[in-house]
Subunit: 205 residues, 2 copies
């Protein structure tokens, strides 16, 4: 029951943070929303920061699980991976929207974030090699060009939600669909001609 | 003297907002930093929100002045324009970093922002036509492809600073230099071959 409450607190926090922003949501709001006592929440988490950090760990774990599957699988086209990654970016979108601010307030989170960024770059290099081997992407010999491309993918995935998610209306899946189109276009020049046609057709759907 | 103080307040606010984030900086901080009385500040601005809105207007005006020059000038390559635009993005980087949050708190700013976004898209279409005419860019017939490209340029310019500006160390010009490289790479597939060589050479410098 106790661990069940722990999961409920994490789940409700993501929803509230996504909806209203971390700064606006207090531990009291989370308790009210779940109809639990503050004591119950503090049994599991010291404060809001601890919840945010735990959610960051959770997001990283989901991401790494996806990567692991991607590096094993050799017959999966890059856009299928992009789709699944975007689901995670969308699920935890408050992080990317507010990361600068959160990093400022919590040096621990900031160093976790830097570590995650370094891992992301490392993974992208490995994944790209796999996609090139599988005939989806053209090889990029220039290390710096590959790094910039991987940063652009990351940048677009992590920042366009805050751009296109309306602050006025309830969240919809529209930014998620847009994201797929945008990432497809960022990567387009690096697809092999055959796969490029396929992606373009799916974008125009 | 009064209007001089008004400008000083605006200038100091940008510096403080960029350095510490809008949420952290109070009107008292601004007064202390300028050695003026709160009454002096309130003579010019009702509250912090009013300062933020005025700075947004100021940023838009600087941007529109740059656009006007760009649409007049027919012999200027796109990267020169990108360079100048990035200076403005950098100067007001707190806006892009915190825009989602600021829009949430201030519906007026949110609608100003939407209007600015619509203008940006309109301008990019016109500017692109000029660059194609001048032989720098290849024509893009597909309206949607042009729109996505222009959104990607905007997204990259407005979001990579929060990604690459360290929250731990004092601001440097490094993210600004990186931004030029990233935007060059976003636009690269759409440059004419001759100009592409030129841009690549400047990126590798």
């Amino acid at each position: 029951m106790a661990s069940n409450n722990r999961s409920r607190i994490l789940l409700e926090s993501v929803t509230l943070f996504n909806h209203a922003g971390v700064a606006t949501v207090s531990t009291n709001h989370i308790c009210e929303s779940l109809s639990i006592s503050p004591g119950n929440l503090y049994f599991h988490f010291k404060n809001k920061e601890a919840i945010v950090r735990e959610l960051f760990t959770q997001m990283c774990e989901e991401t790494y699980a996806l990567w692991k599957a991607e590096l094993k699988e050799e017959t999966r086209p890059p856009m299928a991976f992009i789709d699944r990654s975007l689901e995670i970016f969308w699920k935890y979108r408050f992080f990317h929207r507010e990361m600068y601010h959160l990093r400022r307030q919590d040096p621990q989170l900031s160093s976790d974030w830097h570590r995650h960024l370094a891992k992301t770059r490392h993974f992208m290099k490995a994944a790209y090699a796999g996609w090139a081997k599988g005939g989806w992407m053209m090889r990029i010999e220039d290390v710096r060009a590959l790094r910039v491309l991987s940063d652009l993918v990351l940048l677009t995935a992590s920042s366009f939600f805050q751009f296109y998610e309306s602050t006025e209306k309830p969240a919809t899946g529209r930014p998620l669909r847009l994201g797929k189109e945008y990432l497809g276009r960022v990567m387009l020049p690096h697809f092999t001609p055959k796969y490029r046609e396929e992606v373009l057709a799916s974008i125009d759907e």
